[in-house]
Symmetry: C2
Subunit: 537 residues, 2 copies
Amino acid sequence: MNAYVYGYGAPGKERLIVVDLGVAFPDMEGSPGVDLILPDLSWLVENRDRLEAVFITHAHEDHVGAVPHVLTRLNVPVHARAFTANIARRKLSDLGVPDDDLHVVSPWPETVQAGPFRVGFLPVSHSIPESAALIIDTPAGRVIHSGDFKIDTDPVVGEPFDAEAWAEVSKGGVKALICDSTNVFVPHAGRSESLLGPEIEKLIAGAPGMVAATTFASNVARLKTLALAADRAGRSVVLLGRAMRRMVEASLETGVLSGFPKVVSPEEAQEIPRGNLMVLATGSQGEGRAASAALSRGKYLGLELKEGDLFLFSSKTIPGNERCVIRIMNNFSERGVDVVDDSGGRYHVSGHANRPDLERLHDIVRPQIVVPMHGEHRHLREHAKLAEARGMQSVVAVNGTMVDLTGNAPVVAGHVETGRTYLDGSVQIGALDGIVRDRLRMAQNGHVLVTVILDEEDEPLGEPWCELKGLAGTGSSGADLAEVLETDLDQYLRRAGAKTLRDDDKLEEGLRQVVRQTAQAEIGKKPEVTVVISRLR
Amino acid sequence: MNAYVYGYGAPGKERLIVVDLGVAFPDMEGSPGVDLILPDLSWLVENRDRLEAVFITHAHEDHVGAVPHVLTRLNVPVHARAFTANIARRKLSDLGVPDDDLHVVSPWPETVQAGPFRVGFLPVSHSIPESAALIIDTPAGRVIHSGDFKIDTDPVVGEPFDAEAWAEVSKGGVKALICDSTNVFVPHAGRSESLLGPEIEKLIAGAPGMVAATTFASNVARLKTLALAADRAGRSVVLLGRAMRRMVEASLETGVLSGFPKVVSPEEAQEIPRGNLMVLATGSQGEGRAASAALSRGKYLGLELKEGDLFLFSSKTIPGNERCVIRIMNNFSERGVDVVDDSGGRYHVSGHANRPDLERLHDIVRPQIVVPMHGEHRHLREHAKLAEARGMQSVVAVNGTMVDLTGNAPVVAGHVETGRTYLDGSVQIGALDGIVRDRLRMAQNGHVLVTVILDEEDEPLGEPWCELKGLAGTGSSGADLAEVLETDLDQYLRRAGAKTLRDDDKLEEGLRQVVRQTAQAEIGKKPEVTVVISRLR
C-alpha cells in the first residue's frame, strides 16, 4: 500500500506532491469482513491546500487502487502514463467518480510542472506495462523515485530497462534515489521475462489434454508469453476472469500489446478439441472467487479440467496466500489434473530488482542518498545497510517518517500520523475504531445476548432471555447452555438489591459477569456479551 | 492429523487397531476461537468392542496430540516407545487422565500381540527422538507402516536409518508399505542432520552479541546441534519456552539425549556477558505466545535482543504460518537484530524422506502394494504415481477410505464417515454444527441485535431497540446507524398487520429484512441479525 509525499519549501509550508495511492487487501486474521485497506490520508486532507498533484508510477493495485476512493477528497490533478491512466479511468468509472482530474503524460523527456517540482516519467521494466520511475527536479536538486522495477532488457511487453537513459538522467548528479527494496534478500541477478517462453512451450508441447494457466492479470507480458506458447502448440486461447479481459483490453486500447493471438470465448471453446485449448485464468493467489478456484471446483462457463489435463501456476505465491493456493492444487489433484508450479524456477520471474540489480542501479545513478522503499522493515533495513556499505548515505524511513534530503545525509525531520482505514461495505472506518476488534472478538469468543425487562417498580418482569451465537449448545452439565445461563441470570436478578436494579450500568455489568462465569464453568469460554435492559416505566 | 485403522477379519467383524491419534491446529480463517482440531472418532467409538489397541509411532502433536482427549472414550491399551510414552504421559497428566492404559514397548524385535495383529516398533530417523515404523504381522501377511521418517545415517540424536534392519524385516515379503508422502515433490536426496553443526558453528562464531535460535521444541537433535555449537563458541545455553524445557527433560529422563551442555536459567543468564549467551526459544512458526514472539516484542524473562544481536530460524515455515513468522522478523529488524533463516538451505534439514529416499525405501522393502499416507491429496497422488511407475500397486486413499490389502492389488472396499471435531474451550463440537460458521459470519458481516416488546394486545410497547457490534456507527445518511435502523423498524412495526404482530416467525423475519435492507443502503453491508421479541401476555 504505497503513498509517498514529497515536499519543498519552508518547514510547515512545503508545497507537496504525492507519488502513488495504493490499497492493500484484508484477511480473516486481521481485518475480517473488510473490503479494502486504504492509507489513512487525514494529514494530506488537512494539508490539501498545499498539495499540487498526484503522480502514479504504475497500475498495480498497491499503487493506484486508492485513487478512486480518495480523489474527491484531495481534489488535485493526477498524472500517469497512458496505460496506467486507462486502468485508473476504469476504476473511477466503476465508482462513478469523474475523471476530469486524470492526465496522461508521455514518457521522459516530457515533464509536468507541479509547484516547485518538475516531474517526468522514465520507463522501467516491471511486471505490468508502462511502469515508470519518476525524475523529480526540485530547486534543491534531482530526486529519482524508482517505482517498482526490475532490470530486464527483453521484457516481452513494454520498454526494456534502458541503462543509457538512466545514465543520462543521472549524469548531472542525483541528490537521492528512493528505491524499490522488495528483493534485496535475493542474492542472484534477476532473470528476463523472455526466458520463460521456451520453458512454457516445452511444458505445453508435452501436454495431451486441456492446459490452463494462471498468473497476475496485470502481468500482460506473461499473458503474451503464455498465449504465444499456446499458439505455437496449435492451441486456441480462452481468457477467464474479468480482470484478465480488462487488462488485455486496456493493453490493446493503449497500444502496449501487439501480436497477441486471437482469443476465443468460453462458448466457442466448447466446439474446439480439448487438446487444442489453453485457458488463461485469474486467481493465481488462490482467490476463492477467481476463475482458477472456480475451475478447481468443477465446470466453469462450460469448461472443465479432467484427468490428464494440466494446470500451471505461472506465478509466485505471496506470503499469506499459501493455504488458498494449496487448496486449489489439491482440488485439481482430486480431479486428476496435474499441477505444475514455479518450485523448479522455470515458469515465473519476479518483477522486482534483486540484490545485484539494486547494486547495478546504485552504480548507474550514484546518488548521494538512497532511501529504501517498498518492502517490510527487514527489507528497508537490509537495503540501507547495502547502500551504506557501498559508500552512499541511507536511512530507514518507516511509515510516517519525514526525511530532510537537502543536506549531504538524510535527516529525520519529523513524523506524520499515518495508518490505515478500511473500506467496509460502502463506508470508510478507522482501523483502530474498535469495529474490527469487536468482529474478531465475536469470532474468537462467540456471543451471548441477554434481554431483561423491568416493570414500573424496577422489578424483573418474567425471566431473562438468552440467545447464543457461535457457541456450543450444551456444556459440562449436559443441559441446554441458554437455559443454564437463564437460570443463573434469574437467580442473580432475584438476589439483586433495588439499588442494582435501578442502575443500568451496574445491572448490565452484573449480568455480564454471570454469563461469563457460567459459560466458563460450562464450556470453558468467556463469550462476548450484549445486555439489553428494557424498562417499562 | 493422523489416525489410521487396520482391521483383520470377516467384513464388518474385523478386529481393529489404531495407529496414531493426532491433532491439527486451528486458524482464524477456518476455525476462529477453536483450541484444537481432533479427528472425529464416532465410527471408532461405535466399534469400540472390536478395537484391540492403539499404537503411536512418535511424539509429534499430529500423531499423539489427541490421545489425552479421546482415550477415555476408546478405553484400550496404548503402546509406544519410551520417549513417546513419556510425552503422552505428560499430556494425560495435564488433563488429569489416568495413564494406566499407556504401555512402553521396546524396539523391534519386541512385539505386541493385539487380536490378530502382532506389532513391532522398528526405529527410524525423523525430526523427533524414537520415531518408529510399525511392523504389523497379520494372518494375511506383513504390512509395514513407515510412520514419519527420513533416511539419515547420522541423525545426531536417536537411531540412524538402518538399511540392514529394513532389509531384514522385508526379506520374507511385504504385502503393503503404508508410506510417508510429505516430501514426494522434493527432487533431491535428503540431507543429514549432522551437516548442520558446522554451518551453525560458523554462523555463531562470527556473531558479536547475543545469539538466539528457534526450532521445533520436539526436534531434540537440532537443540543438541544448536547447544553444542554454542558450547564450542564459549556460549552458555538458555532454554526459553515450556515446550522446549519439557522436551529436553523427557529426552534426559528416557536417556535419548546425552552430551547436552549444561543450561543456565534466564536469571543466571543475566550475570553472563551478552556475547557469551545463546538462547534457544520456542515459536519457530511465529506463534504469538511463544518465546520467540515475546523476544521480538522486547524484554522477556530479563533477556532482550538488541542492535547487532543475531536471531536464527533453524526451521522451515509451515504453509499458512508465513505472516506470523514474517511479523517476528520485522519486529527484530526494528530492534536492529539481524535475522537469519534457512532460505539459503544451510540451517535446517527436513525430517521427511524426499523423492529419491522414498524410491530407496520402496527398493529395500519391495512391497506388493504402496499406500501413500501423510500428505495432502496432491502428495498422495504423486506418491501413488511414483510407486506404480516403479512396478508396485498403489491407491490414493483419502480420509475415510477402507482399502482391502489382502489381494494382489489394493481394492477400495468401503468408506467410513470421518471428519473433524473441534475442542472449543472445554467442549468438543462438530466442525459442521454451524457454531463456527456463525462465528465466521459475525466476523464477516457484523451483528445487529433487535429487541421488541409487545403488550398484552400484541401491540408494540415503546420503540424497537438496536445494538450494533462490529459495524460502522454511521453510514451514508450521516446519522447514527442504530437510530436509523430503529426508525425504520418502528415504521415497519406501525404498518405491520395484527396477523404479523401475532406471529413470532413472521415478525422476526420482517424485522430482519428491514435491518438488512437499511444497513445495505446505509453502509453497504448485510449484517447478521438476532431478533428478540418479548411478549407481555
